[in-house]
Symmetry: C2
Subunit: 236 residues, 2 copies
Amino acid sequence: MSGDPLGLAETVATRLREEITGGGLPPGTRLAEVRLTRDLGVSRNTLREAFRLLSRDGLLRHEPHRGMFVAAPSMAAIIDIYRVRRLIEIPAVTQAWPRHDAVARMRTAVDEATAARAAGDWRSVGSANMAFHAAIVALTDSPRLAAFYVRIAAELRLAFGLLDSAERLHAPYVEDNETIVRLLEQGDPAGAAARLTTYLDQSERVVLDAFARLADDQAPAVSPTGPALQRTGIFR
Amino acid sequence: MSGDPLGLAETVATRLREEITGGGLPPGTRLAEVRLTRDLGVSRNTLREAFRLLSRDGLLRHEPHRGMFVAAPSMAAIIDIYRVRRLIEIPAVTQAWPRHDAVARMRTAVDEATAARAAGDWRSVGSANMAFHAAIVALTDSPRLAAFYVRIAAELRLAFGLLDSAERLHAPYVEDNETIVRLLEQGDPAGAAARLTTYLDQSERVVLDAFARLADDQAPAVSPTGPALQRTGIFR
DNA sequence: GCATATTTGTCCGTATGTATA
DNA sequence: CTATACATACGGACAAATATG
């Protein structure tokens, strides 16, 4: 085509990433190479390069001689993700410096979430919530933790995508976030950490409940593990 | 060669991994594709697939239109790695269940380290030390933390490779490890965590000191950042 | 259980843009 | 500035593994 100033593979990867996180490609769907090469207008090698980038972010999963699949979080994965979030976010807030740059980012994220909620834009509320917790991790000034958290958050967002009205799910937590950042600004990291702890517990419960309900709906009576549903990864 | 039961790319990746961690490919060296395709007898596509696996482990670093380089830990990277280690390992030990499987693995790692030290096999002492701390992370029962730690440990091992007599470096810490696992077995996780904390502090200091000395030696007088040394990543 | 079709894994040759000497 | 070396991207091809009827 015309000009692609930065790698074509990354362009393809970005487009696929939006498609996945946007819900266009539900978790568990198989990404056939030949079909995507036609739809995206790139060669197979380039597409596979994009696959490498996406699997690095944890959005895709590779099965030998079977292909690439959109990662489908299991119940155990969600539990593990929240365990990791507690381990990282709570100490990050506890030992936070009140005038850290990331605190300002937390504040703007809360403001954006408030505005988006007032406008009924639930998707933006979810994005702002993600940004808020990413800023919490940024309090540690650790690039490795930040990169790790990006991967975790992407996986969790996939789980949200499985849920029906997912964005509405964390809309009520805007107040919690506001309280957390206010306590930090006022120099009370311990109080902020306590608030964060209860938030994580509640959020995990809500997500797990919705996930269990989803699993019940999709696996009604006779065959709890049909081949089609196995591929969604929910029952693995 | 003959039969390659599992992917050829993984076979190549394994061989390169051993070459890198073994010191055959020092940090900062550039991995030219065409040359490696000849030496390894594989095609470029397969080699790039292997590159993807290794960069996922943090052993390789990619620069656009310049190629793949063996990751060269910087001073800031080492500091960050130890910060992450504290964040993960200390809580892991603190909330450890004394009869956890991983405790047994810690014990065997200590025994192996003791035997290796008696035999003067410093390389095996280092490997056992790595296994010991991997077992500590396994106390959390979190597959994501374990995978993350693998990446961190690989990067740290690269830093050790830069150091001259690196294996000798953590030989004196066998006693610390023995104390930690004994306290855990005796049901004193708090004491074990305290001991682990001092170990991490001391280890970080030793590594950073050796690293600073290495940098001084390699950048003697006139040109602190020659093009060859820049590529080592030490001064970046 | 078997034969077929589809898809991935791997290799090759080539053209083009980019960085470095 | 030129020239070389290399990464990027393309398309085609065959073997091996998997899925399907």
